[in-house]
Amino acid sequence: MWQYVIRDYFRAYRWNNVKHAWKTTSRTSASILVVLMFILVDFFWEEVNVVSRIIIYGAYGLPLVFSWYATVIHPMALPKMLYLCPMDKNERRQYVVNSYIFKIAVSMIVSMSGLAVVIFNYGFDILVFITIIINNLIINLLIPTEIFMKENAGDYTGDLWYFSNFDAYKEWNKESAIKVALVFVITMFTNLIFIDITDADIADRGSATFVRVILFLIMLSIEIPLVISYRYFIKLHIREAEEYEAVDINK
């Protein structure tokens, strides 16, 4: 089964899919990029090491964009033909779960590549390293496609297996979307602040340590409980993806 999971994953990286993903998640994608731009404004106030900073933020931001699009073009739902093929529910569930795990694994590898660039530039700090890994894992776990689809997308294509009109999703979509957006923003900012203070020429190392501890506590007290409360939606996504009826946007 894994060979087909891997092939399905890379098969989705077609230009048409990327274009369609941009079109159907444009507001949210644009919002994320705008937020990143505000971060980059910081560059204009730094007179030294601008190129280095661009590289660092790129090393952090590009994997983020990759994770985002990887999620958008790899929805939980399977191709329609797989709902017609002789597979029982358990086999289909396994396929969905394996695809989800593989997607997260690839996104984490890309994130870690970016993190390696950060470490190379700023040196290794265990607290920063652990926090950014956990934050990236949270981001990659939490972003199923459907959260960010327009409610009445109506631009389904045969290539992409989106489901955005299923009634049940409309009810809890907003709730889960708020949680995901909250976690996403917190993780992104904590990551960036970690990077920033790692680089900062702070005379008082005690202040830097204090800020790091606060950010770490934010992760423990806000992010992780949100992730735990979100697990229900992930299980629901997986369960719904076992049945064609739940993912049929043309119903």
């Binding site: 329609k80 009826e245 119903k251």
Partner: protein, 335 residues
């Protein structure tokens, strides 16, 4: 073989209500109705893609809740939307999905591709891929495969589908190595039809496949359906607007209107139950109201659709005939 008992299903703004029928094996069933009448939804219920809100559907005496895998292994499907993946080649698609079916055979798939003009009958081994040995000269004891091969040869010899030279040209892949997404709509449907036949299903479900077939291939397609049910153990459900084909071919008819079942039964019963009465409007208006379903009044010659009773005597000045499916659909919509 397929049985529906008071099946109802509510969809977004539409409801299938109380559908009941029992389709035996060896029949070609025509599923007809206007656009939006529920044909595709009913097919989705039969395929197990939707679950009925009430009632039950059984296929081969089994229900999807307990035997989904076994049922799907015996159903071949061609739907309006393309089921193959556009970025894979024909062969890659067939191998990818075919591995799930217990009786899938690439040899059989290829023979149908040749028969449908999608692959070359004679080709060098490197163009046939790894399974070249399986295509030519294999001593195939399976009667069905022998028949398919014979037909493929006949058609190629008769140049009905002259074996186009699909050898690699200008660096582009050919034959079964062509990318599925780059085929025309008609070719993609043929390809999926070939795949549906390649694993010897017991039921063939076709949702409006003929719209994109050229007239030559439509005849060929109907012949294939007749071959398919020839042994009396298999069944075809064909949803189509081309009712001429069903008039010639169908043994069983399901007619849906606004999610409701107007008729479900064998075609003989259908023709016995209804009559189209043609003549002057004033004559038609004399037909008792309880018999009259609808009337299409025209200045020169009107027609009425009526319930037929064996011993009813019609006015000698009107023409009475068993309805063609298209006439029935047209007149029924005039209610």
């Amino acid at each position: 073989m397929i049985k529906a008992e008071s099946v109802s299903k509510k969809l977004d703004k539409f409801k299938l209500k109380d559908i009941s029928f029992e389709l035996p094996s060896g029949y070609i069933c025509g599923l007809v109705g206007r656009n939006g009448s529920g044909k595709t939804s009913l097919l989705h219920l039969i395929l197990g893609l939707y679950h009925a809100d009430s009632g039950r559907i059984s296929v081969f005496g089994m229900e999807y809740a307990d035997n989904e895998k076994m049922i799907h292994d015996r159903i071949g499907t061609v739907l309006v939307e393309e089921l193959f993946l556009p970025e894979l080649s024909i062969k890659e698609n067939a191998d990818y999905f075919g591995k799930f079916y217990s009786k899938y055979s690439w040899d059989r798939m290829r023979e149908y591709l040749v028969r449908f003009g999608l692959a070359d009958a004679e080709c060098a081994s490197e163009e046939c891929g790894e399974d070249a040995d399986g295509v030519h000269g294999k001593d195939n004891k399976n009667t069905e495969d022998t028949d398919v091969k014979r037909h493929a040869n006949e058609y190629n010899n008769n140049h009905l589908y002259p074996g186009k030279n699909y050898k690699k040209q200008n660096g582009k892949e050919s034959g079964e190595r062509r990318q599925f997404g780059k085929l025309s709509k008609g070719q993609r449907l043929k390809c999926q039809f070939a795949f549906a036949l390649s694993y010897s299903p017991d039921i063939l479900i076709l949702d409006e496949p003929t719209g994109n077939f050229d007239p030559d291939f439509r005849e060929h397609f109907l012949d294939i359906l007749k071959e398919f049910i020839a042994d009396g153990t298999r069944t075809v459900i064909l949803a189509t607007h081309l009712t001429d084909d069903l008039d010639r071919l169908a043994d069983y008819l399901i007619y849906l209107e606004d999610g409701e079942e107007v008729f479900a039964g064998d075609i003989e019963s259908f023709r016995n139950e209804y009559r189209v009465v043609s003549g002057e409007a004033y004559k038609l208006k004399l037909i008792p109201k309880e018999k009259l379903i609808s009337m299409d009044e025209k200045k020169y010659g009107s027609r009425a659709l009526v319930h037929h009773r064996k011993y009813y005597k019609y006015d000698p000045e009107v023409q009475v005939s068993a309805p063609a499916i298209e006439d029935f659909m047209y007149l029924y919509s005039k209610r």
